[in-house]
C-alpha cells in the first residue's frame, strides 16, 4: 500500500480525485493524466512468509533446502525434512484427515502433473509460423527486395505445416486453415523454384548442344 496515489510516470503524489469520481487526474509534475479504479480486494492482506527458526545444534533436524533452519515437517511425497518456509500446504490434498505438506520441488511437480496451469504460459504456434513463412515473402515490397528468400522460406513453411500438422498446442480448438494455406502457398513456390531450375538446366543443355 502507499503506491496507489503515486504518479506511475514520475512518482509524485496525486490527490486521489480519480478514485472518487472516476475522472482523469493530471500529475502536478509531469502532467500525465491517469485514472484509477479500486475494488474491494484492495483491503485483502497477504500474509508474509515465515522464515523458520534457526537450528540450535548439530543434533537438531534441519531443512533440506536451508541447512541452517530447523525442520518442522516432512514432505508427504519425497520425505525430505523442510523448514517453516519450505513447508507448502498441499493444494490437492482433500482427504480431510491431514492438511498435507509438500516441499517446493514436489509442489511444482504435483501441480504440473495434475494438469493445473500456473498464471502464465507461452506457446509457439507452428501453423502461424508456417503461414508467415509462406505468405510474407510474397508481399510486394518484400518480394522485390528479398525474392531470393523463398529458396529457404518455402521449404521451411512446407516442412513446418506438414511435420507439425495438428500439433499446435492452443487453449481453444484451432482450425487447420493456416496449415492448408501454408501448404498451398509453399507448394506453389517450391514448384516455381523447380520450374526455374528445370528451365535453367534445359536452356544450358540445349545451348551447349546448339553450339
Amino acid at each position: 500500500m502507499g503506491e496507489l496515489l503515486k504518479c506511475r510516470k514520475c512518482g509524485v503524489l496525486l490527490k486521489g480525485g480519480s478514485i472518487l469520481d472516476g475522472s482523469y487526474e493530471a500529475c502536478p509534475s509531469c502532467q500525465a493524466s491517469s485514472r484509477l479504479k479500486v475494488y474491494p480486494a484492495y483491503f485483502d492482506k497477504i500474509e508474509k512468509g515465515k522464515l523458520g527458526q534457526k537450528a540450535l545444534g548439530d543434533k537438531e533436524a534441519t531443512c533440506y533446502f536451508h541447512p541452517d533452519r530447523k525442520a518442522v515437517a516432512i514432505c508427504d511425497e519425497c520425505g525430505k525434512f523442510v523448514c517453516e518456509l519450505c513447508a507448502i500446504p498441499d493444494p490437492l490434498a482433500n482427504d480431510g484427515a491431514s492438511e498435507g505438506v509438500l516441499c517446493p520441488e514436489c509442489y511444482s511437480r504435483k501441480l504440473e502433473s495434475s494438469g493445473r496451469r500456473g498464471g502464465r504460459e507461452e506457446v509457439f504456434l507452428y501453423d502461424g509460423m508456417a503461414v508467415s513463412l509462406a505468405v510474407v515473402p510474397l508481399i510486394p515490397p518484400i518480394c522485390i527486395i528479398m525474392y531470393w528468400a523463398i529458396i529457404f522460406t518455402a521449404p521451411a513453411a512446407l516442412f513446418l505445416s506438414i511435420a507439425y500438422w495438428g500439433k499446435t498446442r492452443h487453449f481453444m480448438p484451432r482450425s487447420k486453415i493456416r496449415n492448408i494455406v501454408a501448404i498451398v502457398f509453399s507448394l506453389l513456390q517450391v514448384l516455381f523454384l523447380i520450374g526455374i531450375v528445370v528451365l535453367i538446366v534445359t536452356s544450358l543443355t540445349f545451348g551447349e548442344m546448339g553450339s
Binding site: L20, K37, F171
Partner: protein, 181 residues
C-alpha cells in the same frame, strides 16, 4: 474450460510488419489475456490468467507516444510526397512522370493519412492491472478507446466477484494510501 471471447481487441503495430495483438477471453472466475506476436500472422502467444477476485485496481495512464507516432508517419508521408514531386520534375517522359507521381504520391498520402488519424483518434495510454503482488501491464491495450472499453467490461466482472466499493470505502482507500506515504 468454456472461454468466451470478448469482442474487444487491441493491436499495436511495432513496425510495418511485426504485429502484437491482444485478445481477452472470459471464464467464470478469471480472464485470460492472450497476447500474440508475429510477422503479419501471429506465431507466438503469451497467456496470462488473472482472477477477478485478486484484482485490486485498474489504472489507465495517458502517454504521449501517439504524438511521436503521428509526427513520424506524417513526416514519412511528406517525404514521399516531396519525393514524388521532385522526381517527377526530373523525368522528361510524360507517362513516366504521372506513374511516379501516382505511385509515390499514393504511398505518401497513405502515410500522411495514418499520421493524422493517429494524432486525432488513437490517443495512447498504458493499461495496468493491480494485484496484491504486482502491477501487470497489458501492453496491447495501448489506446484510450480500447483501454476504456476494456476497463468497463472487466469492471462488471470484477464487481460481480468482489462487490463494489462505496464512497466511504473509496475515501478509506485514500486515507490508507496517504497514511502509508
Amino acid at each position: 474450460m468454456s472461454y468466451t471471447k470478448l469482442k474487444i481487441k487491441g493491436a499495436s503495430m511495432q513496425s510495418l510488419l511485426s504485429v502484437r495483438k491482444s485478445n481477452l477471453w472470459l471464464e467464470e472466475d478469471h480472464f485470460l489475456h492472450v497476447e500474440g506476436r508475429g510477422l503479419i500472422f501471429t506465431f507466438w502467444e503469451h497467456y496470462q490468467r488473472l482472477y477477478f477476485e485478486n484484482i485490486k485496481g485498474i489504472i489507465i495512464l495517458t502517454t504521449k507516444l501517439y504524438l511521436i507516432h503521428s509526427v513520424s508517419y506524417s513526416l514519412i508521408g511528406l517525404f514521399f510526397l516531396l519525393l514524388g514531386v521532385g522526381s517527377s520534375l526530373l523525368v522528361s517522359d510524360n507517362l513516366t512522370k504521372w506513374i511516379v507521381i501516382l505511385v509515390v504520391g499514393a504511398i505518401g498520402t497513405l502515410f500522411l493519412i495514418r499520421g493524422i488519424f493517429i494524432g486525432l483518434f488513437r490517443k495512447s495510454c498504458k493499461f495496468l492491472i493491480l494485484t496484491n503482488v504486482a502491477a501487470i501491464e497489458i501492453p496491447s491495450l495501448n489506446t484510450m478507446r480500447v483501454a476504456e472499453n476494456t476497463e468497463k467490461i472487466l469492471s462488471g466482472f470484477i464487481e460481480k466477484a468482489q462487490g463494489k466499493l462505496d464512497q466511504e470505502g473509496l475515501k478509506k482507500v485514500i486515507e490508507i494510501e496517504k497514511s502509508d506515504l
